[in-house]
Symmetry: C2
Subunit: 189 residues, 2 copies
DNA sequence: GTCATTTCTTAACCCAAATCAATGAAAATC
DNA sequence: GATTTTCATTGATTTGGGTTAAGAAATGAC
């Protein structure tokens, strides 16, 4: 289980056995049932998450309509905007499946930093990665038509298509479920 | 002229007179004519920019068609993705007006850091701000219809509408100039 | 100033996605 | 295992943006 965390961190720094031990001891893990809300609109986010198992998604509710902005699966960190800005969240974070999640907080991160100072090094690199992928996401959305976006998703993350209900995929692509259904039909020919 | 830079930096740290002097000495300023390209697709970006005067924009060329992703005006920093990733740029950066620009490079930044170590503090905060605004940009785009996006732009940055040709605004909003023209007419009633 | 180019608007027609409605299939609940 | 509820598909219709083409208005060049 801890391996999932180590694997993620190894993208940024090589962990010593000592450090792995510290992480194992200090980590805080929780399970959530499918449909649980990790964060509500209007709520202040005091926690950030790291998915060990399962799948979650973020969405806005714009006059009653769900607008999905992201899916998160194993090995993915979730840092809500509200967590960094310290303002109420404008979107929801919900478990799409039963989830096992490692939960971070300001305090726990601070404690971890003192016991393992090297962890601070990874901050800017992580932020840069997040920024780059966020920009890419926007740019791809701008550049492609709904149909191309679907094909792009199919190519980039085929797992998601098997795992996530189609009406949520549709929302993520910025279209209605009926339209996605037709796009799929169109492509099959 | 330097004031513009100081004002920007004061969002993150208070500058001493000493530090202002260092900045004034080390800065590197250049002028560009309207239409100059600060960065080309396929090119490696070795520079980041800070607009002192004028206006620039970034755009993709997707089979011959311009897709605007951002406008930059006075007091705005431009950090091309290519500058951080060290991969060839996928988009263009062009001056929309005659521009006066402060230009940063890896080397000059390093030199500045040694003479003014406190500058490093601002790094993560700046990255966080960029990330937050990039996310907001995406989310706003997702949530709103073209018409709402125009009204949102009108409310958030009315200056841009007076300053930037409509066909580029249209591209930025993800629609064609003709459609923007129609939307404007629709709204006037 | 005149001429040329760029930018903006308008109109007619086209098309993809939205909407509305109905039906089936699949899952969740009991 | 029967019953709700949720999800996916399909059809008919509407709507808003795309396309094409023309002319008007603004801007720039000489």
């Amino acid at each position: 289980m801890d391996e999932v965390i180590f694997e993620f961190l190894s993208k940024y720094i090589e962990l010593t056995e000592e450090e792995k031990k510290i992480l194992s001891e200090l980590k805080f893990i929780k399970s959530f049932k499918k449909g649980s809300l990790l964060l509500r609109e209007g709520e202040m986010s005091k926690e950030c998450f790291f998915i060990l198992e399962g799948c979650a998604y973020s969405y806005y509710l714009v006059d009653g309509e769900v607008k999905v902005t992201e899916f998160f699966t194993e090995k993915q960190p979730i840092t809500p905007v509200s967590y960094t800005t310290k303002k109420p969240s404008e979107y929801y974070l919900e478990c799409l499946e039963d989830c096992i999640v490692s939960i971070g907080s300001q305090e726990r991160t601070a404690e971890l930093m003192t016991k393992m100072p090297r962890l601070a090094e990874l901050g800017p690199a992580f932020l840069e990665d997040e920024l780059a992928s966020q920009r890419m996401k926007y740019d791809t959305f701008i550049k492609l038509s709904p149909e191309q976006r679907y094909q792009n998703l199919q190519k980039q993350s085929p797992e998601l298509l098997d795992r996530i209900p189609q009406y949520l995929i549709a929302s993520y692509l910025g279209i209605k479920p009926e339209s996605l259904s037709r796009i799929r039909k169109r492509i099959l020919k």
